[in-house]
């Protein structure tokens, strides 16, 4: 292909949406939220399964944990994010995302830090158990702590 071709594409979605009828935005969001609530128990079960798997592999009980690749930690944390909505307002998903960020930065710097992993996993467990009871400010402080740990490790790398 040479040069740039600019194509004006008829927006099929616009045409379909404009046909009238349908539901109001507020109602659509309410129905979707209600539909998601029906999955909360399943989401919670997945979060607990993934947490148990993380503990088994990367917890203090595994003497080989220091030599394990962090790839599985990333995958388990990703599945906790995927399970989303199991514990609304607990901060669990944000902590799982912080784990993914820690692993991504560890891969980039090629430095493995068991203490940082421990802090993240412990925080994840605390938020699973108590996150919904914390105030928004307390959760923010806890999550900021994870971010600070990751930033500090990155600066030291």
């Amino acid at each position: 292909m040479s040069g740039v071709k600019i194509v004006r594409v008829p927006n099929k979605l616009t045409q379909l949406v404009k046909r009238g009828g349908g539901i109001a935005v507020g109602e659509a969001v309410k129905r979707a939220d209600a539909a998601l609530e029906s999955l909360e128990d399943a989401s919670l079960a997945i979060i607990d399964e993934e947490l148990a798997a993380i503990d088994l592999l990367y917890g203090a009980g595994n003497p080989d944990r220091a030599s394990l690749s962090l790839d599985q930690l990333y995958e388990h944390a990703s599945r906790i994010i995927d399970a989303g909505g199991g514990l609304p307002g607990s901060g669990v998903e944000e902590a799982a995302r912080a784990i993914c960020e820690l692993v991504a930065r560890s891969r980039a710097s090629n430095i493995r830090d068991c203490d940082a992993v421990d802090v993240h996993v412990a925080t994840l467990k605390v938020l699973r158990a108590q996150g919904q009871k914390l105030s928004a400010a307390q959760r923010k402080t806890v999550l900021q702590g994870l971010s600070d740990v990751t930033d500090k490790r990155a600066r030291e790398a």
Partner: protein, 199 residues
């Protein structure tokens, strides 16, 4: 972009959604959310390969795909749609949904031709807002050696100074006479100089 209001109405009933995620629970979440929006026509795929087959069959109107999947990722699927899918399907709206979202991934999705990238967990209001934008979007498609996808220039800031814009929506760069005198340097300095703040 047009702001979505509570009373705005959307009729998604006749729109066929292709939902792609290797994680069965995440796929179920997507399905529940779009069903709540009134969507009745849903095709599910647990891999990029299965998604391609669905797209090749035709009739898909919107693609929602997970970013990280084993084998081919959502990014690769997006690239395939823009470059290799049947001609009629290359302009499909694609929304990438990702769990861990470093900024580089958002840029990657955009540069491979995705319309939007949104973060998991899937929040119904956020997804509906993106669908609302998609349905009001009049972005052109760009096809070139370096990029194929929707025009990445969201902000229409107008043509550079001294150049007449070519778009009908380009802002006019005409500048009127100043209505107030220019501030003198003593007024400018305090506004520009960083100062230590005592808390």
């Amino acid at each position: 972009m047009k702001r979505m209001r509570e009373g705005d109405r959307l009729n998604l009933e006749g729109i066929r959604f292709l939902l792609v995620d290797d994680n069965a629970h995440a796929l179920k979440i997507m399905e529940q959310v779009v069903s709540g929006f009134g969507v009745r026509n849903i095709v599910k795929a647990d891999s990029a390969g299965a998604a391609k087959e669905a797209i090749n069959r035709g009739g898909i109107d919107v693609v929602l795909t997970d970013a990280q999947m084993p084998g081919e990722t959502g990014y690769e699927l997006t690239e395939w749609i823009r470059l290799e899918a049947p001609e009629s399907e290359r302009y499909l709206p694609v929304v990438i949904i990702t769990g861990h979202t470093p900024e580089s991934d958002v840029t990657k999705g955009r540069d491979l031709g995705a319309n939007f990238t949104i973060a998991k967990p899937l929040v119904p209001r956020v997804l509906l807002q993106r669908l609302f934008w998609l349905s009001h979007e009049d972005r052109q498609f760009i096809q070139s050696d370096a990029y194929t996808g929707p025009d990445r220039r969201f902000k229409r800031l107008g043509a550079p100074y001294g150049i007449d814009g070519r778009r009908s929506g380009d802002l006019k760069a005409a500048v009127r006479e100043a209505s107030e005198p220019n501030p003198d340097q003593d007024q400018i300095n305090p506004a520009m100089k960083p100062e230590k703040v005592v808390l």
